[in-house]
């Protein structure tokens, strides 16, 4: 029996394998994602783009300190505030203090793996703030009191029937809808009012562009657009490895990320947010020459072990990850047991192996077969 700390891995794996709902959900989702990706790779020179993306990430990571300084300068110039934080506690405290100062009672939140990494929601909730996840999958996970199990499909481990039961229970519905469309509409209506009354919006960022200080946010649902633009305060939370050099580089990443992630040429929305938009003040229709910022913007950049990982030639690999999730959909163990069994919460799969959540190396590479060389310090076989 394999044991990791207090966890009994063997039993967890057995439980996952004998859970018929999980098996059904994974069978369906993994095959679909894998197939959709395959169908759209033909329209581009995938290998050339992958090499190019890799080069861009390598170059940016090698200049990470310099680019970080550039981001701070650009975003500040454009009316935003940047907080560079060393660890999870610092990032949490910054956001919690900001929320307190602004009298925030309700936060709408778009999907952010870094927020999962630093356990942001519980920190805000402990201070009496309502945190509303707005990505459909994340909302489902939040209502279920669970953790995401896939990088881009957080509730991939749930079947539609699981979700119907969950919504019936948590939303008090005697006669819940049964079609995916109606379930989605139910969430749209429930969350719309919360969006309109939120005091703060929190998002992640897929990329941060040093040249222009632009955040790039990739999504399909529209909840990122609302979370970032609607509340009077927008906080974007991201890891320092997300910084790339130029806006032109983004075109390369955008040719790859949606194709590999969901099999789309482009997702429904890609938001490019550069500083804080400002509006000219008019006085009875006449321009006054003055401008006001439409909202407040804070960019919170976390290190949390990333600098340590960047200094190590093997761990560094994880910082090149653009979190498309494609490796999970192709991974034999993942497709059988799902993401919760991995010991690298919240990042399942190979990219979670070095545990960028802390300088500590998680023992997960010991459970990978061929895709990840064991990281230095990681046990070759899980301790028993």
């Amino acid at each position: 029996m394999q044991r990791l700390g207090s966890r009994d891995m063997g039993a967890e794996i057995e439980r996952a394998l004998s859970n018929p709902n999980l098996q059904r959900a994974l069978d369906n989702a993994m095959a679909t994602l894998y197939g959709r990706r395959g169908a759209v790779l033909g329209s581009i020179d995938f290998e050339a783009l992958r090499r190019r993306a890799r080069e861009l990430k390598e170059r940016a990571l090698a200049r990470n300190d310099e680019l970080l300084a550039q981001v701070v300068e650009r975003v500040t110039e454009l009316g935003g505030t940047v907080a560079v934080t060393a660890n999870a506690a610092e990032a949490r405290d910054y956001i919690a203090a900001l929320a307190r100062d602004r009298g925030v009672r309700r936060v709408v939140k778009a999907k952010s793996m870094v927020s999962e990494e630093i356990h942001l929601n519980s920190a805000l909730e402990e201070r009496g703030i309502e945190v509303v996840e707005t990505d459909l999958g994340e909302r489902i996970i939040q209502l279920a009191g669970e953790r995401p199990s896939h990088l881009i499909v957080p509730a991939v481990h749930k079947t539609k029937d699981d979700i119907i039961d969950l919504l019936a229970r948590t939303m008090g519905l005697a006669d819940p809808p049964t079609q995916a469309e109606d379930l989605t509409r139910l969430i749209r209506v429930d969350l719309r009012e919360r969006f309109l009354t939120a005091d703060m919006g929190i998002t992640g960022a897929n990329f941060v562009v040093a040249e222009t200080g632009t955040l790039v946010l990739v999504e399909n649902e529209g909840n990122i657009r609302l979370s970032s633009q609607l509340p009077p305060v927008h906080v974007a939370l991201t890891g320092r490895e997300k910084i790339v050099e130029t806006l032109a580089d983004i075109a390369t990443f955008l040719e790859l990320l949606p194709r590999s992630g969901t099999g789309q040429l482009l997702t429904s929305y890609v938001s490019l947010i550069t500083g804080v938009p400002s509006t000219e003040v008019t006085d009875f229709g006449r321009a006054t020459g003055e401008t006001v910022h439409e909202r407040e913007f804070h960019l919170v950049i976390v290190d949390n072990g990333r600098s340590t990982a960047a200094a190590d030639p093997q761990l560094r690999e994880a910082l090149y990850c653009i979190r498309c999730g494609a490796c999970l959909n192709a991974c034999a163990p993942y497709t059988r047991v799902g993401g919760h069994v991995y010991g690298s919460d919240p990042y399942p799969g190979a990219s979670g192996a070095p545990g960028p959540t802390s300088p500590r190396v998680t023992p997960k590479p010991a459970r990978s077969t061929v895709c990840v060389p064991p990281a230095p310090g990681a046990p070759r076989s899980a301790p028993s």
Binding site: G222, P232, P277
Partner: protein, 182 residues
């Protein structure tokens, strides 16, 4: 040529698209959005709003003010159709980019159940890289948001079933405006 590809690509990802001559635009738009409830337009389209109003379309120009403004909030809640101008289109993916430029056009277009975008035929380019260049020039020294929009809002979070219309618009219609000959 690029227009045809643009229209085809946008339809392939669940959006609607049409092409009209500039002189025909007010009439064509009135037919498109006329009976669909309150149309809110961005300030840059104010003169078009007047023409639509003359044709009996219930139409309002969005307030320019930012978060916390009561007028803006009322506009955002009431809009059935958001009418905004597109900056650049990408033929291969059927993508249209809106903003930057303030005026809350982006927010309006994220909230309304239907989003109608006007895109000049000459603003359609072939690739994402090309479009990024256009946006990049727009951003030069300025703050603001630009959004690349490809079809209506959607999700596949429930058993990978494709559902259109989550938090963003349920419908997206791009009207490609042809420049008059001569």
């Amino acid at each position: 040529m690029l227009t045809d590809l643009f229209i085809q690509s946008l339809r392939a990802c669940g959006g609607e698209a049409s092409s009209v001559g500039a002189a025909e635009l007010p009439r064509a738009l009135a037919a498109l959005v006329g009976a669909g409830g309150l149309v809110v337009v961005t300030p840059e389209l104010e003169s078009l709003a007047l023409e639509l109003a003359e044709r009996g379309v219930e139409c309002r120009v969005a307030s320019r003010l930012g978060a916390g403004d009561a007028g803006l909030e009322a506009d955002l809640r009431a809009a059935e159709v958001a009418l905004t101008r597109g900056l650049v289109g990408i033929a291969r993916s059927g993508t249209v980019a809106v903003g930057p430029g303030g005026g809350n056009g982006g927010l309006l277009a994220a909230l309304a159940p239907r989003h109608v975008v006007l895109l000049g035929e000459e603003d359609i380019v072939d690739s994402l890289a090309h479009a990024m260049q256009v946006i990049s020039e727009r951003f030069h020294g300025l703050g603001g948001e630009a959004v690349f929009i490809t079809g209506p809002s959607r999700t596949a979070d429930i058993e990978m079933l494709s559902v259109v219309g989550v938090h963003g618009p349920l419908g997206l219609h791009v009207v490609v405006v042809r420049r008059e000959a001569g």
